[in-house]
């Protein structure tokens, strides 16, 4: 009799476990706070408003890319071309802004085109993975090579600067607050609006059980394509943040970020197999990776050891996150 009572977990009965069920990103949040505390310990300055805003503007691109990845992972897919999409949008908008004179109008027009390019990349991925039924890992790897080729065509070598007005705005302040905070607020509103739409639920249904989703009448192919479109859109937004932060174009800038975006999704408490994801978790996961990197720096790690310690720390944090999340779910 008692086993029945425990099987049906109500929010009150399970304590920590039910909390974790409702908020799967809690482990990531705890790790994030711990890392913040450690950062403060090693370098009290790093907790100042100014350095936190700086950290945010540096890692906003990874946050966006991790969120992009979350939508395809929701449907049980993956996008190894997200970083290449970011690179392509980055070089495209920088070249367009320069060609059109670098004024405010040129910037806005280039950003609009950048969004369309991101959506186009997402559409290509959606078509080859969902409509042509190629395996997502290898197909998006192939498209990543293709997109990288396009980026190299647009800008063969890194270095073209972005217009001053663009990076000054992104790195500057508006009404006394760092601009990146407005980006974060806009992102929060966008994510909230998206969570109210059917598309997220549909993606999760497809990721949970494709066949069942199909049998209940969901247009599975269309839903998966929408996931890739969202991924392309957020990859373009990631490119905007990156361009604002680095103030230049680089055709290979996003290559290494793809795998970090996958790590951030897992760190955030999402299941890589699909059907169970959290965008808030991915956001926290991306910031955690950023904090790990800055902590390694602040600890005074010798420069040649930094990559190694960062890699090791991220692996350990991933293990901790995955373990904590598993305790909650199983």
């Amino acid at each position: 009799m008692t086993s029945i009572a425990t099987d049906i977990s109500t929010p009150r009965s399970g304590g920590l476990r039910s909390w974790l069920e409702r908020y799967p990103f809690l482990p990531a949040l705890v790790i994030l706070i711990a890392l913040l505390a450690l950062n403060g310990l090693f370098s009290p300055n790093s907790l100042s408003f100014r350095s936190l805003a700086g950290l945010l503007s540096t890692y906003m691109a990874l946050v966006m890319l991790a969120i992009a990845q979350t939508y395809v992972v929701s449907a049980g897919d993956i996008d190894l071309s997200a970083g290449a999409t970011l690179s392509l949008v980055n070089v495209a908008i920088v070249v367009l802004m320069e060609r059109w004179g670098g004024g405010a109008g040129a910037v806005l027009l280039a950003l609009t085109l950048g969004l369309l390019i991101g959506l186009a990349c997402g559409l290509v991925n959606g078509l080859v993975v969902a409509a042509l039924r190629l395996q997502a890992i290898v197909a998006t790897f192939a498209t990543s090579i293709f997109f990288t080729g396009l980026a190299l065509y647009v800008m063969p070598v890194a270095g073209t600067p972005a217009p001053t007005i663009f990076w000054r705005t992104y790195g500057g302040r508006l009404l006394g607050l760092p601009f990146v905070f407005y980006v974060l607020a806009a992102l929060a509103i966008l994510l909230f609006l998206l969570s109210r739409t059917r598309i997220v639920t549909e993606l999760l249904a497809v990721g949970d059980d494709q066949q069942a989703a199909y049998q209940t009448g969901l247009p599975v192919v269309a839903v998966r394509i929408k996931g890739y479109l969202l991924c392309g859109l957020f990859s373009a937004l990631a490119a905007f943040c990156l361009t604002g932060d680095t103030a230049s174009g680089d055709p290979l800038v996003g290559g290494k970020m793809t795998l970090y975006s996958v790590a951030a999704v897992v760190l955030g408490g999402s299941a890589l197999a699909g059907g169970w994801t959290t965008v808030v978790g991915s956001l926290l996961g991306a910031l955690t990776i950023g904090l790990v990197n800055s902590l390694v720096f602040f600890m005074g790690t010798p420069s040649e050891w930094q990559n190694f310690v960062q890699g090791l720390a991220i692996l350990i944090v991933l293990m901790a996150g995955v373990l904590a999340g598993r305790r909650a779910r199983v």
Binding site: Q135, I145, G149, L318
Partner: protein, 318 residues
């Protein structure tokens, strides 16, 4: 009639037909592309990829989303270790081989423990390991001047040793025979397919699933280490991240060979053809006179096109 159709849909047959077609295409684009010398050179490059893909193959066959993204890091690390251990002396070859195999086994073991004990998805575990390996490469490069290949190793990889064929190609053939024997004729091989198609059933039937899976990652690490060693012999000295390219191309070779990423179905013969196919494709792209951006676009698009021939997912049916 339908059996004829089925024959032409088999991945190995598709790959072989495509290989011949690409060789003809290469020869027509640049006369001499399909000459004996050139084909030997392509085979040497293909054996490097094929050896990495052997390990990737067994991890993927083992199922549970098995994949090893860390192979590229192990290849690079092994090339550096080998260079530093032998440092141009033939007497150092054996210690170098042992050191590389040990390193490959250790990183494979760590991957396997993370995947089985901590139950971290292989994609994430091996990706994290890749980050660690890349960091390790930076550390080693800063401290020690990287060494050179011993003449004996270089000769093994690039010079003919029997029937006019270089040793590394013989090694690849031997690995092919070993893999075919292991997968088809041994209990261990049968168990790989068993855990790949249904690991719960295999566990119930008494297969030590976790131990098996750790073993598969160790095999993958050791094959990547052998490839790194041979790569050093091929290029003479090791340079940063030489192995990076093998990470995803090894997966593509496995997929082109007809092994399902879902696990439990496929084999190594196809993977060998897949590796060859990939290398010939890259060879054609280097002979054609287009710049890097065009090359990448054509390569990506061709990969997609070729994938249409290979085990697409089933359409949804009610």
């Amino acid at each position: 009639m339908s059996s004829v159709f089925a024959f032409f849909k088999r991945p190995l047959v598709v790959a072989l037909i495509l290989i011949v077609a690409l060789l003809v295409l290469g020869q027509s684009l640049s006369p001499g592309f399909a000459s004996a010398d050139q084909i030997l050179r392509l085979l040497i490059v293909a054996s490097l990829l094929g050896i990495v893909a052997a390990g990737q193959n067994v991890v993927i066959l083992g199922g549970r989303e098995g994949i090893d993204l860390s192979v590229g890091g192990v290849v690079s690390l092994s090339a550096i270790i080998a260079g530093n251990v032998m440092n141009g002396a033939d007497g150092g070859i054996l210690p170098a081989v042992l050191a590389c195999l040990a390193a490959g086994a250790v990183f494979g073991l760590l991957n396997g423990l993370g995947v089985t004990l901590l139950r971290i998805p292989p994609l994430v575990m091996t990706l994290g390991m890749l980050g660690v390996l890349q960091g390790l490469l930076v550390v080693i490069r800063q401290g020690i001047p990287s060494g050179r290949a011993a003449p004996g190793l270089s000769a093994f990889v690039t010079q003919p040793i029997a029937l006019g064929i270089p040793g590394i190609i013989w090694l690849w053939v031997a690995i092919g025979l070993f893999m075919a024997f292991m997968l088809n004729r041994t209990v261990f091989g049968h168990r790989i397919y068993a855990i790949g198609s249904n690991d719960h059933a295999a566990y119930m039937a008494g297969v030590p699933v976790r131990l098996m899976r750790i073993g598969l990652f160790m095999i993958s690490g050791m094959f990547a280490a052998i490839a790194g060693l041979c790569l050093l012999g091929y290029s003479g000295s090791s340079f940063a991240n030489v192995g990076e390219q093998y990470m995803l191309s090894s997966i593509i070779a496995v997929v082109f060979g007809g092994t399902s990423l879902a696990g439990g179905k496929g084999g190594y013969t196809g993977t060998m053809a897949g590796a060859l196919l990939l290398v010939i494709l890259q060879g054609i792209l280097t002979t054609v006179n287009i710049d890097e951006s065009g090359r990448q676009m054509v390569f990506g698009a061709t990969l997609l096109l070729l994938m249409l021939f290979y085990g697409r997912g089933r359409a949804m049916r009610a």
